[in-house]
Symmetry: C3
Subunit: 462 residues, 3 copies
């Protein structure tokens, strides 16, 4: 008798019938953080700890919160100095902390489906599990491209800085491999005047494009050039981290003067926010020209733990959401371009109180606006339930965008899409049970939410 | 075998037993936006599109959000230039957008109960459905008064501007028809200094009442006179749109000086908000004198799409809620009159995060304060569930006010009350199932929530 | 045939199986407002109204909201002038207002388990119920210590002002009675410059400790001395009411200058908030030295009904929650001491929108931070459900702190812990049913949440 995974979102019979129709659909992953180098080089992944623990802030932040040292977990330690087995043991000893979290579900799925392990990870079986994973990772079937195919991934978008030369993407394209791995244009470092090294980044942008980035006009040309270069490599979207959501259309002279101040590093914080808000509208306008879908990830206070930022850098689990005013924050952008049905702006929020109050009414009105799937902390059983609960009655389903896994944990991609498909099936079965629509509607919507909407919204294969 | 409606909120057996006791209670509709002219003239309604689609921003905003032109839907098009059948076809082709929304439930109910149609509206059956509705609307049984009686409406309050002469209401009263259609005093245009044409409106108010509205005292007298005129026509309530909730008691000289500046159109935005906040308290004080119930609808950013405002006017689906601070916003009003149990102030919010945090504790303390039912976007299956979930534990049931349909879509009034009664029955059956009270309590509360509380709170028939 | 209580949170069979394993665990009550004098004197409680109604703002605020006079309920009336029976009758007549509230569940439990009454309290049986309770209260089995033992209370923390001499606690310790009743250090009156009589309170603090509180250094020494005195009486925690959450580390000279201004009563409101924010960090730093757990209860606007404050004083049911910015508010404190795993700071919120957005991510990152249980209005069936729904997926269970009853209504302590244990059992059974973990996990977590976490987090018996 075969055993299932340690934990897995259970389905009612009605939900199971829906899930059976979408479980094997190809995976469309239009937003995430995988390393394109994996697919360019197709080299074996490193040891289990360096692959599964060290880079995953979902995982190590929880141990840190209960007093475990990041250094003991290999964070900030050079790969060659890490003791993978010791890190794995330490993680296993604290694995019970994840009960009730999506990480537990993802790990259960990965251990079971990829490595054939049904038992919970414990201090006792840590070594055996480590050995099993380590051995598998050394086999050809666990190389990045083999896994990509095995996972049934139709599209995988990475996230790449505007200054990235996209060499890995070029290598992939030239390799003849059929896997569709495409870049996403993420210009924060050259667009947000508060980004560390902004002026130097803009200078690099000028050098890279041959544009004179000393003037606003030249700088905008340079951005257009980079967008075109990304598009040539297959990109269909841009992505923007917006810590404090604000958009504002500046008149030309003020925009030029603030840009000039920003280059000199002499811009006040408030003006930097205003300039960034203006440049986001410029991005939206460029999207009208080049067709790139615009993603806005707004409302996370980044690196709130300053000691940790100093000692270990960014992305250490100390990015904490705050309230976001979507009505005011997008006012200028939407009033400039929001009535254009040929533009797609996707909003991602960490402030769930805005789902029913602001975002669903906005997505249910503005032709350009779509609602991204539940993001980050909310990509979870309850998070997905609260999302449907809050948005569907006002925005309907067709103003949504399907699913994003948003992960750098490549091995967990099938687990995340599976959880989404299970949660979608539970939601739709519940809607049918409540009399809101019929089974045929549910099957149709399940496919839309699991596959089609992501493909269409991100203009993949168009 | 008879078929049910295309979609309808399903009931558990326990909920059905509760629902059976309230489904046929008379409809009490103490707040809404029907046109009193319908009942004064009792003329046949126009074609299906002009009745059911063109005036309903719940409906056309959804199509607009997916790229359909408002003009193609007849919005802003003179009735004589509209092609009702073409509009209906366009709507039908996009009807699937409403899956999961309350509009779908309301339409299903209307099509089934009024027109005998069980099938979903589609592009294919659009013409047949249009013809069926069109034919029915031409029969005497579908005249406004006949429908009013058929719907079992005990009370229907309309919403009327302070400058409205109430001629339709006078006609209804004089007609001898027994239907109780009463006005509601909505003075936004003469009370909010930011209302378009405020000074001219106040001048009309003076002319209408014979009061000298050049002084604050005369202006307040004029408002008293209009309230009295509304009361004479049966009004039991006032209603106030409060975009940015703020109340503040100004001393006499400052109030006079701000009022004078407002008349001259020379008032700063902040001062306009303060003056409006003062005048709202004046309204509450007049309510203590004349007994009119005071309704506050707060927290909607109106007409956020400025291009649409310019081309098509207000109420185009671009009113978007924002966060509302009820504690601070009502502080001055409640500290002036909130301890009076003979005053009734009803608060309506679009910021559900305030239900459990602010409004339920406030309604559970202040004698004057009651909580309005879930408003607008939240008048839905999940919206009603979240409302009970958030408010009952702190405010109980007797600080609530039953239901408002708040609609200008007359034909949907039974559908909306039916949905409320179904949702109430599900809620109460759930409470019984959780052991919180017994079946007899549930039956009692079902009647309170479906009928009595609205009647009592709005002092109807008192 | 024995009857159960009038109302009680019902359990599914799976939840019942979990509940059976925790229902009889000792009660750990690490935060509450019982009067230590009860256990020092062990005198009989007064009449039923003075014990159960007059001091309970959960109860009398609801009657006040529906127009009942507080004076008629004995509030602000000297005990000797109260007519207990008349108060009880008035309460009974309005008892139906509590349907759907936790007060109804608590009262049902108390009436049933303590006084053997299964019927709902009504106007008709009010006298009989009053007599039954009154008679019981006069028996030795209903003396405070006897009830303490009968309730199975392992630890009971009271809340005591910094200037409290702790005489009752000394009496208890010296009495030889085994009941563990310990104080909690609550220094608001000497720590918050906006507290009424702040300067006079600080002067008393100086007199009490022999420290020169004219200087900041002496004042801090005095606080250290009082903390030590509390610790000597068994205290393991401090508690802080923080109306407007703000922390900020001031440099020495600014801290001294603001402190000096505060003593002179010449400090602006903004500066008072800043100084309090600084002193809260000083408290956290003292906790690192003396090991006292730090509790922050933030976000309640106190005494919002100013007429009632003037006539009846504080705690009259007019404390209303407002939005709380936890990310910004704790920024300075956490960046100073939040990385210390040997510090425990417990955050209590009334703004549930912060659960998933801010508090769970923060507790899931900072070693020092733990999440307190649902507080005040949210200590209820739905409040507990929303809490688990919002926090567990991001913070897990081990960053929580079990339960606090937070009550001054001693007789209701078992009722409140029972409701928590039932709600916990329902939550865990639901998690098992959803496949998130197994039954053994649920039993383990039930014990952690009902007993162990409170004991460990508050360092009781350590």
């Amino acid at each position: 008798m075969t055993q299932g995974p340690d934990a897995q979102l259970a389905l009612t019979p009605a939900a199971q019938a829906i899930y059976d129709t979408v479980r094997d659909l190809p995976i469309v992953s239009p937003h995430g953080h995988c390393d394109p180098g994996w697919f360019a080089d197709d080299a074996a992944f490193p040891d289990p700890a360096s692959l599964l623990i060290v880079p995953d802030h979902y995982v190590f932040r929880m141990l840190y919160s209960r007093g475990v040292s990041l250094t003991d977990l290999g964070i900030g330690v050079p790969p060659e100095a890490r003791d993978g087995r010791a890190i794995f043991r330490l993680f296993a000893r604290h694995y019970h902390l994840f009960l009730g979290t999506p990480s537990h579900l993802w790990w259960s799925h990965v251990l079971h489906d990829l490595f054939g392990l049904s038992d919970r990870l414990t201090a006792e079986n840590a070594d055996a599990v480590y050995d099993r994973i380590d051995a598998a990772l050394k086999t050809p079937g666990f190389r990045p491209r083999a896994l990509f195919d095995r996972f049934g991934i139709a599209w995988l978008a990475t996230t790449d800085g505007a200054l990235d030369g996209l060499e890995h993407h070029a290598t992939i394209l030239e390799s003849g491999w059929a896997g569709r791995v495409i870049p996403t244009f993420r210009p924060d470092a050259v667009l947000n005047p508060q980004a560390p090294g902004f002026a130097a980044n803009v200078e690099k942008l000028g050098a890279m494009t041959g544009c004179d980035c000393g003037s606003l006009a030249g700088y905008l040309d340079a951005l257009r050039a980079r967008r075109a270069a990304f598009k040539a490599m297959g990109a269909t979207a841009t992505d923007h981290d917006v810590p404090d959501l604000h958009t504002e259309w500046l008149d030309r002279s003020e925009a030029e003067s603030l840009f000039s101040a920003a280059l000199k590093g002499r811009i006040a914080k408030g003006d930097a926010v205003r300039l960034y808000g203006h440049l986001l509208i410029e991005m939206a306008q460029m999207s009208l020209d080049d067709g790139l879908v615009m993603q806005l990830h707004a409302g996370s206070s980044r690196s709130t733990n300053r000691a940790l930022l100093a000692s270990h850098g960014r992305d250490m689990g100390a990015d904490i959401p705050h309230r976001t005013d979507w009505v005011g924050g997008l006012d200028a952008l939407l009033n400039r371009v929001g009535n254009r049905a040929d533009l797609t702006v996707i909003a991602f929020t960490l402030d769930e109180s805005a789902y029913a109050r602001e975002l669903a009414p906005m997505a249910g009105h503005w032709p350009a606006l779509r609602l991204g799937p539940p993001w980050w902390f909310h990509d979870s059983v309850n998070g997905i339930r609260r999302y449907f609960d809050g948005v569907v009655e006002t925005a309907g389903y067709e103003n949504l965008t399907g699913f994003n896994d948003d992960t750098r944990a490549f091995l967990s991609i099938p687990a995340r899409h599976d959880l989404w498909r299970r949660a979608v099936s539970l939601h739709l079965a519940d809607q049918v049970g409540r009399g809101l629509f019929g089974k045929a509607d549910a099957l149709h919507l399940a496919r839309r939410l699991s596959h089609d909407l992501a493909l269409e919204t991100y203009r993949l294969g168009a």
